[in-house]
Symmetry: C2
Subunit: 134 residues, 2 copies
DNA sequence: TATAGAATTGTAATGATTACAAATTTATAA
DNA sequence: TTATAAATTTGTAATCATTACAATTCTATA
């Protein structure tokens, strides 16, 4: 928990208890949870937690580049920023898998035009499990 | 319009007039429009058009891999499927640019697990225009 | 020209997200 | 410590895109 306190502080985020708990949840659960899943998971530990706070806190983390938002067709999911990697989303079961491929950098020409802050590489298709169940 | 009729037919889509007009709009306007923009743009030509029809038709096109849905934070945008390319989304002005980079294929190991139907490569950051205006 | 099936439409329901003001907590300084 | 200001958290209501669904219109075929 101390680590988290320092990490948030280093990113100019005041480490309130609520924020630390939410961050810890994301750090320890790389399941790409939805807002609702985060809220449900922490409701016991933080009985007064409000869903608005989850939204606010995620926005704060995202603005400070600690957390990344993955915009899927069905819902938004959240992921702590770690090493560059891609995702595979199964269109049958909606599961989101990590894939160890680093997204390519912009080509030289585009680099002159755009300042990149984040890259997302997302594959769609059918996962192993769902291939078997037809 | 004949081309479109054939194209839809080849993809097992019955080429109704409404569908052809919607497809033509997407083919001729690579602006990554939202549902509402499509609806507004065609309201004059198709006075009885319903937004539900736009939704239905896009879903049909997507299921048949003629159109791709781009899930942005703020809204969904639509793009006819052409050559593989990436997108750059400006977080200041929300403009979505085409970038001529082909997304990488899955690595060998992942290929064994996943059957890929589509790939999306999306860069986020600040575009040229917005860099100038601070 | 009647009929079945498909496509389109309009309205209502849903559900995630945001706006916002009130309440609570935390930090600061007298 | 105690008062005050600032920041954080909360709860409710509003918003808005999307979906569900039943009714209507259109199209193809017998």
């Amino acid at each position: 928990m101390e680590n988290i306190q320092n990490l948030l502080s280093h990113h100019q985020i005041k480490p309130s208890y609520t924020r630390m708990v939410i961050f810890r949840y994301l750090r320890d659960n790389h399941t790409h949870p939805t807002v609702d899943e985060i809220y449900q998971a922490l409701a016991e530990e933080l009985p007064t937690l409000s869903k608005t706070t989850v939204y606010n806190t995620l926005k704060l983390f995202i603005d400070h580049h600690l957390v990344r938002e993955i915009n899927l067709k069905e819902q938004k999911r959240y992921d702590v920023v770690t090493t560059p990697h891609a995702h595979f989303k199964c269109d049958r079961c909606d599961e989101l898998y990590d894939v160890e491929i680093a997204p390519p950098s912009l080509d030289e020409k585009s680099s002159e035009l755009f300042v990149v802050r984040d890259v997302q590489l997302l594959y769609h298709g059918v996962c192993r499990k769902c291939q078997k169940t037809t």
